[in-house]
Symmetry: C2
Subunit: 350 residues, 2 copies
């Protein structure tokens, strides 16, 4: 009998399929999505645009229109931009383009879990460097590691799930010291307003990631890579030719033109984050961590049980409770003011 397990890539054997645990509740504050759907007028435009699609034809392989709009909004050249089927696909592309040297993929811990999962699926070694007690980067350990060889370092800025932006100075030290690629994942930029985009010229080995997933378009799966032209050109060699479908491209073009609305909604989320943060600060038994994101990480006794109690109250947050630095930690995404009030009243009275 064929033993399929033996044929599996060694690092993939222990990987678990990403399981989305999503009890059906009314208040969804678990996935760092925006609480605001696209405006009805935007959805109407997308509906109308559907009528103009040649469904039988392949999408624009170069994703020109989306990249043109983004280039204008980000003040970079179109050729510095690549679109991915979510940032996840861009992470894959980066490792495809620059992996295979025997140097590790370097990631802090805790951080976004897909860096590690994707690196494993690509057969890379992963070097995990724990964050310090303030959830900031361990400068010396990071710098010493990136010096060693052509590694690929992933820095989530701000960091998911801790919510904070790491020290800018430390990141610059890492960029200066690195012999390999450094990826700054700015998925939550709209809630931090802090970016390394202006430093692209100084760091030819730096790649910046953005996404539409946190600003009201998670359904679309559109990740954005920004880098030097030569960097983008290299990564483009491993991009699947038609990686962004026509529906995604057309919908993104329409929705992206509503930049003012996106910015207005982000401002409200930031205000809500400050309000919820201040309210949570008052609660005894909660350790709350600074956030530059659209979510707040907090530690509470019996985190796992509190998570279950919240679910019973109709509020879904993300449970990170396990042994290690996130023991008893939960993460709550900022929802609408009403949703946040429901969360607050429940967490206060739990």
């Amino acid at each position: 009998m064929f033993d399929l397990e033996k044929l599996i890539r060694p690092q993939v054997r222990d990987l678990k399929a990403y399981h989305v645990n999503e009890p059906s509740v009314d208040v969804k504050l678990h996935a760092n999505e925006s609480p605001c759907n696209l405006d009805k007028s935007v959805v109407d435009k997308i509906s109308a645009e559907i009528q103009r699609i040649d469904f039988n034809r392949y999408p624009d392989a170069a994703c020109e229109d989306v990249r043109n709009i983004l280039a204008g909004q980000l003040s970079v050249e179109k050729d510095q931009i690549l679109a991915g089927n979510g940032s996840d696909e861009l992470i894959q592309m980066i490792i495809m383009a620059f992996g295979g040297h025997g140097s590790p993929v370097i990631i802090p811990h805790p951080t976004f879990s897909m860096y590690k999962n994707i690196a494993f699926a690509m057969g890379e070694e992963v070097k995990v460097i724990p964050l310090d007690e303030n959830f900031d980067l361990d400068r010396d350990a990071m710098v010493s590691e990136v010096k060693k060889g052509p590694s690929i370092t992933f820095i989530s800025y701000p960091n998911n799930p801790t919510g904070n932006c790491f020290s800018e100075e430390t990141i610059r030290d890492i960029l200066e010291a690195s012999k390999g690629i450094v990826v700054i994942d700015e998925a939550y930029f709209d809630y931090s307003k802090k970016s390394f985009l202006d430093s692209l010229g100084a760091y030819p080995h730096m790649i910046i990631l953005r996404t539409l997933s946190k600003i009201g378009m998670a359904s679309l799966r559109l990740g954005i890579l920004i880098a030097s032209r030569s960097m983008a050109d290299i990564i483009n060699r491993v991009r699947l030719p038609y990686n962004i479908g026509s529906l995604q491209q057309r919908a993104a073009c329409i929705a992206l033109k509503e930049r003012e609305r996106i910015d207005r909604e982000s401002s409200i989320i930031i205000e809500e984050r400050e309000r919820v943060f201040a309210e949570m600060k008052k609660i005894e038994n909660i350790d709350i961590f600074n956030s530059h994101s659209n979510f707040i990480l907090f530690r509470i006794d019996n985190g796992g049980k509190i998570f279950d109690k919240l679910v019973k109250k109709g509020v879904l947050v993300r449970n990170f409770d396990s042994e290690g630095p996130l023991k008893n930690c939960l993460r709550v995404t900022m929802g609408t003011p009403l949703e946040n009030d429901i969360f607050l009243s429940n967490i206060k009275n739990i």
Copy 2:
């Protein structure tokens, strides 16, 4: 100065970004697309469905609805099916899951170029085994190669760009002999009606690929993987969690329900293929190859020049003319009867 080229994965250095050369012409017979857009009634339903999407929420990670519909249509279990962002992504996933053993990815030549490109991007060695003079598999060379170790073999059935189905007996010999994974890519199944799907039980190391791209939905990017439950479970470990966007999922569900229309259109394409084939047979100086696909490969003196002449006449076919087994070869996709007539009258009088 940073030398990015040195950091590139060795096998990626020589890869070229997929360049889509698409002169603007009226008669597009170059990409093996269906000539039929979705029916207006289907497009209307998709338009209406758009209004029900929560754009701010992540798509269904499991792609349940699409897989349920496909399971019914293919008479397999839902858990035997995975959806990919095009078959390209499924090819990536297969190599992620089963590569990294030092055994090569085995492909015949000529065949679909993405097998090789993706294998390179994943850092795999590629073993190319030339087809015989009838564009059939070289049985002995293939069998001897797949015996050696845990390789991954890609067999396009029917084969693109040659158009023929390889000998079923040879494929069974390969399946019997292989110590690794064998992928049967049935992208053009609707035009061949020949499949290994019924043999899934006999070959636990076999994976079948299908796609919506050749039956009127190339815009959607939806590839389909069918295998044993345990095989699908393994590959699912490397699948990106939200690899199929909500728009894709909803549109596919609606369009797939029109199975009768799809079958009707396929029948017309098959009739057209037979008609065009018979007409081309009559033309002197053309060598024409048997097709079980929605396209026909043919050899004509000065293929490259003929390609250019056709473009000038407003007809775009695919130019494979280069040194090697496809010297002077062009590939014409079956279009509407009118489009095929335009192609025929031009190729007759060129």
